[in-house]
Point group: C2
Chain length 239, copies 2
DNA sequence: GAGTGGTCTAGACCACTTC
DNA sequence: AAGTGGTCTAGACCACTCT
């Protein structure tokens, strides 16, 4: 059997092979995969083994399955999916979808910190994007996003950036963000940002530093956000 | 077969039955469960069905399994486990274990908000515990913990509270905290707390409001923490 | 009705732990 | 060697979707 050369369990080898097909773009978001039986036949393993690999990929949100229909590559085009990583809520818990305004977009060389965190070559250019996000017409977040041009060629040539950048990454660059690491601090709002959020200088704001990680484990985007927490909170459940 | 009267899948019925045994204390933390084969025989289902239920409980961190040894009720007595929900880190990511000093412990009637969040009767008494937590001998957190006496009888009679309260809840009251909901804000530190954290008045601090939830879904503890984020960050990964 | 994923079973063999 | 969980297979039947 073609997979038997490995040291890992069969279902793990199947998992790796199927995951590679997603990373390579062999299967694209929203696409229907072959049925369990067909995959089992193609790979020379039992249907139960394919099932175990597929179910693991569902747990990790790479795939979605529907009884009677089939198995699909996960897509994040629903509002609720797009804002899967957007954690600001009203204190009572309602989900809030922000509007977004781009303030600036500039190319520059990557800083040492960025080179390290994004694992870039020394001379790589990055785009620094500054946006203000508003909820109910009130500006509540100002964020700086760092995108390496080596990962997202000419991303600053796009007109009409989508509200959720991740959909652009997925549709235009075939890059799917699977997880983010957030570090939160409380700081006084930087002087230059105070006016954009309609806050007095010295106001305490949440500072959120985020690394965005792809399906294959690469950090491809950095962001730093300053969030007014007068009316909104960062809400998260730990298990 | 004794379980067949339900509408749910067999493995779900097995899951519910086994979970109930944990909630009831029929099986206690660190205890060895019967083997898959014995459970299957007792419940009149196949070994594969028991396995599916057990594995789900492992995912939810109620059980731990070890090949060759058996299946155990999860216990949280390791330092890393005790601080499973402790998210403060040095910016580079090292795990920090705080020391803890109790400032006060008082009984009082529950407030309306507490009655609602903890689902209490109107006349229930609660304990309000105020603690300072230090890292490397520097105070960084001051927290107020609300414990209903209806859930934790005479909890304020304990001398020597453990560093992690959850181990007390588990060992003395048979209550296991399975998840927490955190809401984070940035605020100016309350005047009365500034001196405890060695911070100037008006300093921005992280305010973390937490609901702690048991294995059976009840909120049994509230806490509000003010954290200096000069040298530490709240770190979390979203998937 | 045909095709999909979801459940359940039974049995074989492997890997690890303990005695 | 005996007992545990982990993997893999094969087959039956159920529930759902689409045509």
């Amino acid at each position: 059997m073609s997979l038997s050369a490995g040291f890992q369990p069969l279902y793990k080898q199947v998992y790796d092979l199927l995951t590679a097909r997603l990373v390579d773009g062999y299967w694209k978001p929203s696409q229907l995969l072959p049925s369990e039986m067909l995959l089992a036949e193609e790979l020379g393993v039992s249907q139960g083994t394919v099932r175990k690999a597929l179910n693991q990929m569902v747990v990790e949100k790479m795939l979605q399955r529907q009884q009677g229909k089939g198995t699909f590559v996960a897509e994040y085009t629903q509002e609720s999916d797009l804002f899967r990583f957007f954690r600001l809520r009203e204190p009572l818990g309602e989900i809030l979808i922000p509007e977004t305004l781009v303030l600036s977009s500039t190319r520059r060389g990557a800083s040492g910190d960025e080179i390290k965190k994004l694992n870039l070559d020394a001379d790589t250019l990055v785009v620094e994007l500054i946006r203000v996000r508003s909820i109910h017409n009130k500006p509540v977040i100002i964020e700086k996003v760092i995108q390496p041009l080596s990962v997202f060629p000419d991303i600053d040539k796009n007109t009409d950036l989508p509200n959720a950048l991740y959909i652009l990454y997925q549709e235009k660059y075939g890059i799917t963000i699977m997880s983010v690491n957030d570090q939160l601090r409380a700081v006084e709002i930087p002087k230059t940002y105070a006016k954009h959020l309609d806050l007095p200088e010295g106001s305490p704001v949440l500072m959120i530093e985020r690394n965005s990680v792809t399906i294959d484990g690469r950090v491809v985007e950095l962001s730093t956000a300053y969030c007014s927490s007068e009316n909104f909170v960062y809400s998260v459940t730990l298990t």
